[in-house]
């Protein structure tokens, strides 16, 4: 039965009392004024020693006895069907133990992009596997291709897909199928919406509009996708580079996955990055497992860098047409949005979140997915948000400038988030918003400031259990089978258990990334910490209760008066009894107390359902070369209760760095003639390096947020939402001309400067029009 408790929620000087209903065995969230010894203290990662000494064994590093190597053959053509595959020569090559083809395994004869999997070989050495790939003879039926949204949208463009698949499909609002409402009803509704919102915009004091575009960004985790697979007595053991251990296992045991293992264990103790691209086993995961089965020995199949760049996921590009009506008092009246993006050969998942964060009045928004003959998109750290925020935040600055209002004040006017309202002022103060800078002059370099906001929704949810074990000799261990992809989940899981048991960090062992342990979530939607830590705390709390009952029973004390603090048994409100944790454990009759607890499925009420966040960027632009240097980014972030400031700050810095990299450098370059990605490597696909890294000033707000017993919200995704938008606004501020396309390369900067200077020489253009 749920029970009601009183809690305080809020932050800074904004606190209020709430009555919430918690699951009856749940523990009350920490309250302001509670004496906490670890939570809120910067705590080094529990796996840091292994990582700095090279002893952390990633999937890529595994070498079970007898292991051989798998490699994948990929189609070189932009769009083709596989007619036949001759593996006879390859089979006879030295060291070759197994060959599989994708038409046979996946029942798919199409190879719709250059990089599509065609066959896979396992051989004793990598060189032998590569030699065998070269000996496979494939006959293709080569078709015309489209590799850009622009090409695929053209009248009479070649068909990307097969059968009835069209290149461009409306994805939001969805095309209806079946009996529930017809498409003509929907078309009529959209037409009415367009007319109504069009009138609202028309009737506003000021109208601004622009077309914005963003590029395809690959995830580029340093450890590539794939796994090392070993079949032992019919059981599949997979060391997988995965951000969803249980999802990976389900794919390999399911009927639809192709492998259909009766029993499967996934091991992902260390994962070299994921960023949203490692939820699925993927074709490489299935091929690795099946090659190992066929060869009868363990197989190492992790992608090479080219395969990773071509086939392992990316953030879709976008073209966003925005039109906004604003009144002179600063209130946005209405916004019209049309967007297009390519998720590869499918149509779903290429939307841009350009209608969130602010109140943008009446909205008329339609999104289209565009098929292209390119590698498929995967969820990429805040999917849809950085590209959407880029367009929205340029519009916010354009509108503010048009009505002559300060850019921050204009945002505040259209924003009700209680936390963000405070964050704006912190960001303004730390970036020195009102300072005078050399802007837009004849000087060789000019500088500018830009601001933008974050939004996220991530208090976690059901789907995790934790096992806490306290042994008679005082050892403590906590286990959850989810993964830590570099976020610090493992460390905070240990911290909440140590806090609950009144122990030091080094007294709690943590185990993670093993599907034989209790169920855990995928690292997606920034929900891992909010899902895993309440389960861990709950299990520790109940393990403690069991231990206190043993102590009370032996000593004739009252268990309800006992607690653990500072490695000793305390009497609540009085202080230490003098009994150490170890001597309390020694009173056990059994060898250990083991408690397995599931996280409550539902969250209760809290201070805020969303994370906010504001970022401000200070940039310098060289007007002679077009080079942009981001000097500083102030990132004000909140994520409910900050459990570990050290790793939280790292998450924010990481988001900012990937955001700057997206703003200035990264882009997939497609050869439109040959239909192939040109920069499937790290020389030509440029990610931000140490010389380009701005100073990042992170400010974390600690919010007693309620909702769960650890009150934490995720922080992986929110910090990347605003960065590119803030940088682009800063560049526009510096130059005095709007930037419409990412990445902001020197060429685009020089073109913008040329247009700006040309515009100065002709009579003033209509304001708000794109130059």
């Amino acid at each position: 039965m749920p029970k009601e408790i009183q809690i305080k929620v809020g932050f800074g000087d904004q606190f209020r009392d709430l009555t919430v209903r918690i699951q009856d065995d749940d523990v009350k969230p920490w309250q302001p004024g509670d004496r906490l010894s670890l939570i809120g203290q910067s705590t080094p990662r529990v796996d840091a020693v292994a990582k700095v000494t090279g002893t952390a064994n990633y999937s890529y590093d595994q070498k079970p006895k007898g292991m051989i190597y798998g490699k994948i053959l990929r189609s070189p053509h932009g769009n083709a069907d596989i007619v036949s595959i001759d593996i006879d020569k390859a089979k006879k090559m030295p060291g070759v133990r197994a060959i599989l083809t994708t038409p046979e395994i996946f029942e798919d004869e199409s190879a719709r992009y250059a990089g599509a999997e065609v066959a896979a070989v396992a051989a004793d050495t990598e060189m032998q596997a590569e030699a065998a790939l070269r000996a496979i003879e494939v006959e293709y039926d080569i078709k015309p291709h489209c590799v850009t949204v622009e090409d695929a949208r053209k009248e009479g463009a070649p068909q990307v897909g097969r059968g009835e698949q069209v290149n461009v499909a409306r994805i939001s609002p969805r095309q209806r199928r079946g009996r529930r409402g017809s498409n003509s009803d929907m078309d009529e509704r959209l037409a009415r919406q367009e007319a109504a919102v069009g009138k609202v915009i028309q009737d506003s004091d000021v109208v601004v509009e622009g077309e914005f575009s963003t590029q395809v960004q690959t995830h580029a985790p340093l450890e590539t996708h794939g796994s090392v697979c070993s079949w032992e007595d019919g059981r599949l053991i997979c060391w997988a580079s995965s951000q969803a251990t249980f999802g990976f296992r389900n794919e390999l045991t399911s009927n639809w996955g192709g492998v259909r293992a009766k029993s499967c264990q996934i091991l992902s103790e260390y994962v070299g990055g994921g960023f949203g691209s490692k939820f699925s086993a993927g074709r490489e995961g299935v091929l690795g497992a099946l090659l190992a089965k066929e060869a009868g020995v363990p197989v190492h199949l992790l992608l090479d860098r080219s395969g990773e760049q071509l086939s392992a996921g990316n953030r879709p590009d976008s073209v966003q047409q925005m039109k906004m009506g604003v009144n002179k008092d600063g209130v946005i009246q209405g916004t019209r949005i049309r967007s297009w993006g390519t998720p590869g050969t499918g149509t779903g998942g290429a939307g841009a979140h350009n209608d969130g964060i602010y109140n943008i009045g009446e909205v008329d928004k339609i999104e289209y997915g565009v098929r292209t003959n390119t590698g498929g998109a995967e969820a990429h750290r805040a999917p849809g948000w950085p590209q959407g925020a880029f367009a929205l935040e340029q519009m916010m600055d354009m509108a503010a400038d048009e009505i002559g209002m300060d850019r921050v004040e204009f945002r505040k006017k259209n924003d009700e988030h209680p936390i963000r309202k405070v964050e704006y002022d912190i960001a303004k103060d730390r970036i020195k918003w009102n300072r005078s800078l050399t802007r837009n002059g004849g000087a060789e370099t000019c500088q500018g400031l830009g601001i933008a906001s974050n939004l996220w929704f991530s208090a976690g949810g059901g789907g995790a259990s934790a096992l806490v074990r306290i042994t008679k000799d005082g050892q403590v261990e906590v286990r959850n089978g989810a993964q830590d992809i570099g976020t610090g989940t493992r460390t905070v899981m240990g911290m909440v258990v140590a806090e609950e048991l009144g122990l030091e960090m080094n007294q709690v062992a943590t185990r993670i990334g093993n599907t034989d342990d209790p169920q855990g979530p995928a690292s997606g939607g920034s929900t891992t910490i909010g899902t895993v830590t309440p389960a861990a705390r709950l299990a520790a709390y109940h393990a403690k209760k069991e231990l206190m009952e043993i102590v009370a029973d032996r000593k004739g004390w009252d268990a309800s008066e006992l607690d653990l603090k500072d490695q000793e048994v305390w009497r609540i409100g009085e202080g230490s009894t003098g009994m150490t944790f170890e001597s309390a454990c020694a009173l056990m009759d059994d060898d250990a107390i083991e408690v397995l607890k599931g996280r409550p499925r539902r969250n209760y009420e809290g201070f805020s359902d969303t994370n906010a966040g504001v970022q401000a960027a200070h940039v310098e632009v060289n007007q002679a070369t077009g080079a942009v240097k981001v000097l500083k980014v102030v990132a004000v972030a909140d994520a409910g209760k900050i459990l570990n400031p050290l790793t939280s700050e790292s998450q924010v810095r990481g988001g900012v760095i990937q955001g700057v990299s997206f703003a200035l450098f990264e882009r997939r370059i497609m050869d439109r003639q040959k239909g192939r990605m040109l920069n499937d490597d790290f020389e030509n696909y440029k990610i931000l390096g140490s010389m380009d890294c701005p100073e990042i000033d992170v400010v974390l707000l600690d919010v007693y947020n309620g909702k769960s017993n650890t009150q934490v919200m995720g922080l992986g995704e929110p910090p990347i939402v605003a960065t590119a938008a803030a940088v682009a606004n800063a560049v526009s501020d510096a130059l005095g001309v709007r930037m419409y396309d990412l990445p902001i390369t020197p060429k685009k900067v020089l073109e913008a400067i040329a247009k700006r200077d040309a515009a100065k020489e002709v009579p003033a253009q209509k304001k708000g029009e794109r130059l």
Partner: protein, 208 residues
Amino acid sequence: MVSKNKNPEKDGVSRRSFLQGAGAAAAAAGVARIPETVIAGQNGVATPEVLGPEAESILLKVNGADKKASAPPSTTLLDFLRNDVGVTGPKRVCDRGSCGACTVLLDGQVVDSCSMLAIDAVGKEITTVEGIGTPDNLSRLQKAFIEKDALQCGFCTPGMVVSCTALLEENPKPSRNQIREGLSGNLCRCGTYQNIIEAVEHVSRKGG
């Protein structure tokens, strides 16, 4: 020792040996080795010596210990370390010298172990991250990495630790810009650069 390699080069990786490696690896063919003396034009006649493609016994000195295995002469130093003698600290990420995750020291010099041949490292002292410090005996830089949270997923970390160690060896009091330059061959995707710079500065302030 590679029995036929009588001519180990003196100064790290030359462009020539790199090109030999790249070509040989692609074709899995033999490696033609032209003695230095011929290149220098000091000797009139000499025939290029061909190694492989069969496996050779290769003996390397890694972190002070002898590591021996049989591998084709076209094997890169990185693959020899990882696949043949089980030293997996250096990571394979780009496999063509653009990311630094495979960084090791060769007689104290920073090299990308993916972009040179194992046989070109014969007779030299190879130091990987495992040789910088161990879990029971961390170097001061490794401790600073932990304290400053200069790692997230950790996959670039072995290369970063090796590069920063070499940087501090060469210049115990680097400026912030010199640290950035020293790290410019190493990519991190999670975004730990600022923390790494802070870790190096922390060690540098306390004295090299």
